[in-house]
Amino acid sequence: MASTIRVRATSSGETTEVQALIQHPMDSGYVKDAKGDLIPPHFIQQLTFEHDGKNVFLADWGPAVSKDPYVKFSFKGGKKGDDLKISWVDNKGASDTTTAKIQ
């Protein structure tokens, strides 16, 4: 299966701008399905962006984040061709990881 993570990271010399889109249901646990049963909570708990062995972005997420979340941020440093490692872990223990090259 294709990765659940889409990333684009571009370096402008001093800073690197990162955009990411993650495919995840992000069920809050408060929504009912068509039969009236609660849809159990299923959401990303931690999202990390790692560059050169260091976390440049770490998010502790909860049920309030929307489905298929989008993240944009920038950090100091990062050169063209560097690796940026992105991973998430959800409350059911599932996870996904991908590595992108900074452009």
């Binding site: 955009q19 889109l21 298929d68």
Partner: protein, 286 residues
């Protein structure tokens, strides 16, 4: 045929002259889709002189500068991306009998979105892309998909994507049933219904660009060129069928069955009057 219309309009003009008004009027009950489309597009371009004709396919984003900026950023990472990939995968995957979607469509189904809906002269009815896809599945022994979301949206998203930029080219063949379908669709579009007593036109002709609660209403011109759409409000993808049925329930009417004759005729009318505008689907909407 044409001379008959001229004769009729000349007769009417003579009648009108006695009232001293509108010597060029054509009888109001003579259907003339080409003139309708021209008038329809003229209405919108005059109402929004700053918006380029091709830009109407971007719906509310063509109406509001601030939203337009947000949208440009969003388009770098469009939320329909996952659906588009799924659609591409599904489209390429053969059915159990070895055939595939490509075998059901002209040009293997690539770059043909702008020709739908078409009028099927054998059946005597309008055939939409969604309907054609499910018929293709059934003809190959597969169960049809729900018309309103997920798989159907993914497939139509991919087919629209391969047709991006191509101008809508809906044809009305020389068949009285085709003209009748067009007229039925037009009537449906302008008829008020539901507890709120709104027609499609109340929102999408009279009030595009205005807010309905927090949303900016899309102009009817080009509205189908962007389908299917990822709507943040829905938290997912939706097809033309989903748009029609939810519009009907939002005005507190009882929606029809997806792909019922009325909706097919409506799609026919609404697509025809947007002829010439490019396919922009799949789209993203707030």
């Amino acid at each position: 045929m044409r001379s008959a219309i001229h004769f009729a309009s000349a007769a009417l003009a003579l009648a009108a002259l006695s009232f001293g008004a509108m010597p060029f009027a054509v009888a109001a009950d003579t259907p003339d889709p080409a003139a309708d489309a021209k008038a329809f597009q003229k209405f919108f371009t005059e109402k929004f002189p700053k918006v380029k004709l091709d830009d109407f396919v971007n719906g509310p984003y063509s109406m509001n500068e601030d939203m337009h900026r947000q949208w440009e950023e969003k388009e770098q990472f469009p939320p329909y991306d996952f659906s588009l990939d799924l659609g591409k995968e599904m489209f390429a995957k053969p059915f159990k009998n070895g055939k595939s979607y490509a075998d059901c469509f002209p040009n293997q189904g690539i770059g043909i979105r702008q020709n739908y809906p078409t009028f099927d002269e054998k059946e005597g009815k309008v055939v939409t892309l969604e309907l054609a896809l499910n018929r293709c599945r059934e003809a190959n022994g597969e169960a049809p998909f729900s018309y309103v979301k997920d798989e159907m949206a993914a497939l139509t998203a991919y087919m629209a994507f391969t047709s991006r930029g191509k101008p809508f080219d809906i044809k009305i063949p020389n068949d009285p049933r085709a003209l009748e379908a067009y007229e039925n669709g037009k009537r449906y579009f302008y008829t008020r219904r539901g507890q709120l007593n709104f027609s499609c036109a109340s929102c999408h002709v009279q009030n595009p660009g205005e807010r309905i609660r927090a949303e900016v209403l899309a102009p009817a011109l080009g509205i189908l060129n962007a389908m299917p759409i990822y709507r943040s409000e829905w938290g997912g993808m939706g097809t033309i069928s989903r748009r029609f049925t939810t519009c009907n329930s939002q005005i507190r009417g009882v929606p029809l069955e997806p792909q019922s004759d009325e909706y097919r005729d409506l799609e026919y009318y609404l697509s025809y009057v947007s002829n010439g505008l490019p396919v922009s689907g799949p789209g993203a909407r707030p």
